[in-house]
Symmetry: C2
């Protein structure tokens, strides 16, 4: 194998090391992929100066100590026999994919926020990407995640949120699982199908699924059709090479990628304990927006969302409120159209006067002054303002209430 090629080296390292193998990642930062692989396979020795740098990096960035190279080698050795990076790259190429690496211009810069846990590379599978599409930049990616055992409420909210976000040119990231994840991917693809070809934002990518296992298989199998469609029109991503099982550990690690690639993570439904909360906490830790959709306090599937709201997540009810989180200029949600009340904008004094005006009989200024608790001059001035607003009218003997429009207020 061509050990001078960083792509081949990273392909091999992604099989050798589990995601976020911190000692391995520290070696990689100091030596680069080609030399790290050479050290890992025992072709070259680790010089003392580099080892000191690795130990220092670990000490600075983690709670972990460098316990010597042998500690790493013993962990990687059992997998050395399986190393076949060129075969792995070939497998993915035949499936319409490949391995993106930090040395590529197209590498998503957002991942560097993961520091030492930045992935070794990203295996991808995508017909859309082959046609020269890249992972959209951070501000155009929004993660929509949630429980596998979703309710119809959660699926319906997901579909509406994603419809609005996709309609604003956002790419929807999720984990490809049953439930909310599947609903999110599906809604993004449907939004694309519903668009006139000319209307599609240039280069807009509907959805990205970040998987916990190798991309040569579709997991879970019940989502095969959906995931094939994501690979055809969006992107499948994974940091583990083809043939890797989606283990629990890899699911948890995968969540950090979803959070890091997205400017906001929205949890639509989640139980009190749910992996979606893990994704949300990663988002918060990375300084990304963390949002949760509220639901009935009687729904166990919303308990995790309410937990997040108590932990600092933004409460979002629709796509506009999510967009507001990622577009700090302007306040779209604040502009929510709502029926205005005829008493909007009245001063307290004019409100008092309005309350004092009789609906059917008429009242003279002196009477209004006593009822409203305002001096007569203030009553006269106020009546003038209310008359202009259509809220007061002159009768034959005094004044009475008028109406701009009929409207029942919710509560005083």
């Amino acid at each position: 194998m061509d050990e001078l090629n960083p792509r081949i080296a990273r392909a091999a390292l992604s099989r050798l090391m589990e995601p976020s193998d911190l000692q391995g990642m520290a070696l990689l930062k100091i030596l680069g992929p080609v030399q790290t692989l050479a050290v890992a396979v025992g072709r070259i020795r680790l010089d003392a100066e580099s080892e000191r740098a690795v130990a220092e990096l670990l000490d600075e960035e983690t709670a972990l100590e460098w316990r010597g190279l042998e500690d790493c080698l013993a962990r990687w050795r059992p997998r050395l026999a399986d190393l076949a990076p060129e075969r792995d790259l070939g497998v993915m190429q035949r499936l319409g994919g490949g391995l993106m690496i930090p040395e590529d211009a197209a590498w998503p810069r957002a991942l560097s926020d993961l520091a030492l846990t930045e992935p070794i590379g990203l295996w991808y599978r995508s017909a859309a990407m082959a046609a020269d599409r890249l992972i959209p930049q951070l501000e155009d990616c929004i993660a929509v995640v949630g429980s596998r055992d979703s309710t119809r409420y959660g699926e319906s909210v997901t579909a509406e949120l994603v419809h609005g976000l996709a309609g604003s040119g956002k790419t929807i990231l999720s984990g490809g699982a049953y439930g909310i994840d599947a609903a999110a991917h599906r809604a993004a693809l449907q939004r694309q199908s519903g668009m006139q070809p000319g209307v599609q934002p240039g280069g807009w990518l509907p959805t990205i699924a970040v998987m916990a296992g190798g991309l040569d298989r579709f997991y879970p199998s019940g989502n095969e059709g959906l995931l094939r469609e994501v690979a055809a029109r969006g992107i499948l991503l994974a940091e583990v090479p083809p043939g890797s099982n989606p283990t629990r550990y890899r699911f948890l690690q995968r969540n950090r990628l979803i959070a890091a690639l997205s400017c906001a993570t929205v949890v639509v439904e989640a139980r009190w304990r749910s992996g979606a909360l893990n994704t949300a906490h990663h988002a918060l830790g990375l300084g990304r927006a963390m949002a949760a959709v509220p639901g009935s306090v009687y729904s166990a599937n919303s308990a995790g969302c309410h937990r997040l709201l108590r932990e600092g997540a933004q409460c979002v009810s629709d796509a506009a409120e999510i967009l507001e989180l990622v577009l700090p200029i302007g306040s779209m949600a604040g502009e929510r159209s709502t029926e205005s009340r005829e008493t909007d904008g009245l001063s307290p004094q004019d409100l008092m006067l309005l309350d004092a005006l009789p609906l059917r009989s008429e009242a003279v200024v002196e009477k209004l002054s006593a009822v409203a608790g305002l001096q007569e001059g203030a009553v006269r001035a106020g009546l003038g303002r209310l008359e202009v607003l259509g809220l007061a009218k002159r009768g034959t003997e005094g004044w009475l209430r008028s109406h701009r429009r009929s409207g029942v207020s919710d509560r005083h």
Copy 2:
């Protein structure tokens, strides 16, 4: 009338001035009730030094300027003819009530947080209070408020929250309106009825209704039965004297009293625009806890709650989460009983190992080392730990998975 009696003076002033008449309140702070009334009725003149103090106080505490006494007198003069404080006190006494004033030892100290808008006095109506009960102290009072046009969801949540809060000895404050307010008062009274006499916390008062109009009438009339029961077993309060109409302005002012008397204000259901939000904002402004109950994003009656959540309200789903807000020691909601997972507390390495263990066949240490990506020593140590936990067992040829208990995780 006995102008040297501060109760009589305040009874008169509460008819003369609308709630939060800032110029009047500044006069009251500087002169005290007896002299303020004497000035208001024209019996004595305002000396220059006092007037300067009043102007300074207004300047410091409000955005309002002192425009001279005549400005106030012109506002109050129309109501002078109606002044009959001894009659008002007599009316309330016959109804089983009276007027509590800041000069009383029993005056709720919490109201001083309202500064210049502290009420002139509190008219009350209460059989329970006549029997020597007082308004409970701040930390024992919780406001539960919401829309008049409540849904069954809101009423049901209100009943459950109040049941739990009342069971913890809290007094429920609300506004006596239809909908959530009525559900809150009713649930508190029912909780009391359901208690064995001996079980009732000593001196516990179930509920207080703070009204916008005079307490000689029950408003709204559809709540008459309920409000009579509140007067019998709890307290009705108002800052306006008997005979006063519940005007819009007085409803808004009333909300500040509910917020000030309660250590937390919980909004159960509210539309995007609702007076309940006004109460919640008062609570926030006073440094009290502000909480909102989430609901379906499709329910217009929860839109105001979600708005509050976006504005900094705490998300609460049950009574324990409300109590947690007002009992900062300990974290009751954090202790929520929830089924634990068998993988709880495992290190990432042991989790990797667990994932690598086959369910039916058996695997030797070398194989586990390669699959899990852990060195053999780590595999052996981890197998020991997992065996102790009942998660791994030795077979005839190697190791396989075992189970502490059956449990399906929600999502990885």
